[in-house]
Symmetry: C2
Subunit: 333 residues, 2 copies
């Protein structure tokens, strides 16, 4: 019954928020016709996947746990921002994990990036199908998170956020070419660091990169500032025939491209990913945001960053036009 109701909905009718209490949402539409979805869970203790043939169906899809935190060690706390990628016929999940919930001497969380792999058609079938490939190591051993990856002209790139002790702030964005999904082939190249006012509110942050190709360019969106109403999205771009590892080829937008809409109570939209609508045409922005600002207690344990989806278009200059965060269309209590 409900299936039919949901399939009748068009891209204009996406449920928003689509998925309650899922932050750092990642979506991928696979060749099997399913939208696969993963995200940070409020307990930060495991990685789950759900799937559906429609975006709205994800609201009701039952998740499966595919990996859970260790009892101790580097992968035992604060499992953040998993991304599910299908690379050369295998599934990979990148995620950040820490050995402790404590801050280090600089008041920073202590995450590193890790990679797990699954060789089955259905990545949800069982957690027994997932094997750990270990830490994705970079030349500096420091706070790392939010890795994503993409292929361009047959090269495989990794983009992530990391602290450099010599640069002010929590994290910057880097790119490297990869030897395989869990091993860097080249040195990291700094793509962006917090510098503008909108990147340095509350905290100096560049994180949550997401890659999309359009026209003759690659774009990387990312998230900036503290994860409250100041959180917003920035944009990097590069010509798709340029050397992606040459920092000077990348252009950084001076203004945020997606930000809070105070009038609509949509606060701190960000940590996005991209997918394509059921019509195979409409580009979809997937992101989280809150609908209130008076967070009580530790924001990390305020679970109400919800996953939202909305279509977006392209400006005449070829850049994405994300518009504003759409209002919630659920029945508000």
């Amino acid at each position: 019954m409900i299936k039919k109701e949901l399939l009748k909905l068009t891209t204009a009718d996406y449920i928003n928020p689509l998925i309650i209490q899922r932050a750092d949402p990642f979506m991928y539409r696979h060749t099997d016709g399913y939208y696969y979805f993963t995200a940070s869970v409020p307990a930060y203790n495991l990685i789950e996947i759900r799937r559906s043939k429609t975006l709205n169906g994800l609201a009701h899809a039952t998740p499966r746990t595919v990996w859970r935190k260790h009892d101790s060690g580097m992968m035992s706390q604060l499992i953040w921002a998993p991304e599910l990628h299908y690379i050369d016929g295998k599934w990979f999940i990148y995620f950040a994990a820490a050995a402790t919930t404590e801050f280090d001497e600089n008041g920073m969380f202590q995450h590193r990036m890790f990679c797990i792999e699954c060789d089955e058609d259905n990545p949800m079938a069982s957690e027994e199908h997932w094997i750990e490939r270990g830490q994705v190591k970079t030349p500096i051993d420091s706070f790392s998170l939010d890795a994503t990856c993409f292929k361009a002209r047959n090269k495989f790139y990794y983009v992530w956020a990391q602290k450099d002790p010599s640069i002010k702030g929590n994290s910057n964005l880097y790119i490297a070419e990869m030897e395989n999904p869990w091993t860097l082939k080249t040195d990291p190249v700094l793509l962006s660091k917090p510098e503008y006012e909108w990147e340095t509110r509350g905290f100096w942050v560049n994180e949550g990169p997401a890659v999309i190709h359009h026209g003759d360019k690659y774009f990387i969106t990312y998230s900036a500032s503290a994860t409250d109403e100041n959180y917003c999205m920035g944009l990097l771009s590069v010509a798709d025939d340029a050397d992606l590892l040459e920092a000077s080829n990348w252009i950084k937008s001076k203004k945020p491209v997606f930000e809070s809409d105070l009038a609509e109570h949509q606060y701190g939209p960000g940590h996005n990913s991209f997918t394509i609508a059921e019509d195979n045409k409409t580009n979809i922005l997937v992101y989280h945001c809150r609908d209130y600002t008076d967070i009580k207690g530790d924001p990390l344990y305020d679970p109400n960053r919800h996953t939202k989806v909305q279509g977006f278009t392209w400006n005449e200059d070829g850049t994405p036009n994300f518009g504003k965060p759409v209002p919630y269309n659920n029945e508000q209590g």
Copy 2:
């Protein structure tokens, strides 16, 4: 848009599972026309409420946190099974909490029952409106959980699960009359202890009582055995003009009244509550269950007990006929 789609659904069309990853579901339809919903959250760290004018609307309703666990002390761990009650013009939440996640010397969790109160029309408005009334103390200081309450002939009763060191098993069911929502007026009366085969599979458990009146009787459903596929629901009944504090007036069903349906992959249905459908006639059973049995790791941190709802009818002898757990009707991955 979605609102209209949802309102078109009839009681036969409830989304199932209705609410993903909410165990011990409690629902209450208030005089303001809203269904209020609360439940255990997978992180067991806070109490949230959501509300909607339709049952299906609860699937998309955005929760608000109304209380969060203390940093230390008796209310600092494993916040379980909140119930929201409206008593004489004020809101009360009963919940179980522990000082530690460790077991005691008998291998038992160490919860006690607590009560918080809110004097506002909208119980979701702010956690600042909730005040703590402290522990609901009983003569024995032992593992206690899953309290509910009801009024009958102008008396106010409290029904809960508790360990008695002299009785085998995890917990039994008790009733007492209340002085006020957080203070017992009478001694507890034992209503039921685990004794039948279906109450003692894995663990000896009676817990999760829920009260409903029909015809000339009060019924108490409860949950029995381990919280895996063995979990099932039992039934107690009493004439509504009898002394509810006289144990011998209560009759206990020799068989479970709701249990796993292996063919439909509905495992361990229970910890129910009751509400009424939008038609103001159809009785609704609210419960959680899983759709798999191969739980990896600690079942407490397997988050996939989902909230389900389904109508039920009454047998000719006046007892409830819950049927079987309905299959999931979401699009399965």
